[in-house]
Amino acid sequence: MPVNMKQLINLVEKEDWPFTQGHRLCPGCNAPMVAKWATMTAKALGYEPVVGAATGCLEVSTTIYPFTAWNIPYIHNAFENVAATISGAEAAYRSLKNRGKLKTDKPIKFIAFGGDGGTYDIGLQSLSGAVERGHDFLYILYDNEGYMNTGNQRSGSTPPGADATTEPVGKVKTGKVQFKKNIVEIIGAHENVYAATASTSDPFDFMAKVEKGLKHEGPAFIAVLAPCVRFWRIPESTGPKVTKLAVETKYWPLYEIDRGVYKITRKPRNFKPIEEYIKSIGRFRKALQHPEYKEMIEEMQKYVDTRWERLLKLEEVTKGMYLR
């Protein structure tokens, strides 16, 4: 049974929020939603979450010395190494437990949070290494498609045409031209892993995946589309609304790769054109004014259609074929 609302409210009433008030993320930021849902789920399932964070908005704004918004053990080391850091903590847990040096018998679960910069780009090696080694941890990527902590620089996750200060839209350029790196398939290809996408528009789908990830003995990875309201140039209140559109336009399909087995977890009945999604986000406004961007949107539409068809086929082909 996946966690439900009552369980979560009961948990907070009884044990307090694992991730608490007073953090200094922007109003309407989607990152704290991800942190809150993930840690609550772990707690509601009876686990003791120990959290690691990569340098980024979530880290900077929740632990401004001497203030911490974490009600559970937390560690930050650097930008590119949260997976390695948490793999060390997990190794310590196994060792101390074996040697009878732990003060608790409660089951500890390790959760690492990273933004897209710390995951797609500078932290990819560390993440790949930790996943390959099979540490028992859940890595949660809050993907806001850019280095938002430092003011909207481009990342390997930034979509084509999204204005970014290090690859801006200009007179002769429509901004970034590369599509997003397919991070879930990259991590999913490690095979011993539970990997999934999620969206802030669908907390229960996300929390069900958190549960699967925590219960999977070994590494798990969830990429959550989590807008930065500020640099996406969208109204503060509309993060989840926009990510809903991302799902409905196939821009961000919700699926999982469980040890090689594909499963689409949400199949919208009617799809909307990707242009609708792009037009809902201010970050694309400049590119949209560019005559050449029209072609890019068409390409993106083709891409998301093909990817969706591919996912459906992968779901069919891989059914029951667990690799590990």
Binding site: Q21, N30, T68, E236
Partner: protein
């Protein structure tokens, strides 16, 4: 939250040796729009509670097993309006803080 006057008093390593100390920092002061709930319209579905990025909405499970939305914690609410946006019955409205200056 202790305010340290000397390096000799502080825990070493930058460790924050107590949990959840951020509660002593009131982010409610950032707010320019205030959410107001119409409890008659509210169906206590708790979507606002679930989404609130600042854990600034209180809720409980009543003895009859039903959930109840208990209002806002204005010490922390930054006024982003996500609660109003996700409310399925439009029971939450955002009002300018200036209206509450008295």
């Amino acid at each position: 939250m202790p305010k340290y006057d000397s390096w000799k008093e502080m825990p070493i390593a930058g460790v924050i040796d107590k949990p959840a100390t951020a509660r002593e920092y009131n982010t409610g002061t950032w707010r320019i729009m205030r959410p107001i709930v119409d409890k008659d319209a509210c169906i206590n579905c708790m979507q606002c509670w679930l989404y609130c990025p600042d854990m600034a909405i209180n809720g409980k499970v009543k003895e009859d097993g039903k959930t109840e939305m208990l209002g806002f914690d204005y010490n922390y609410c930054k006024g982003c309006g996500t609660c109003a946006e996700v409310c399925p019955v439009n029971a939450i409205t955002m009002k300018p803080e200036t209206e509450f200056l008295k």
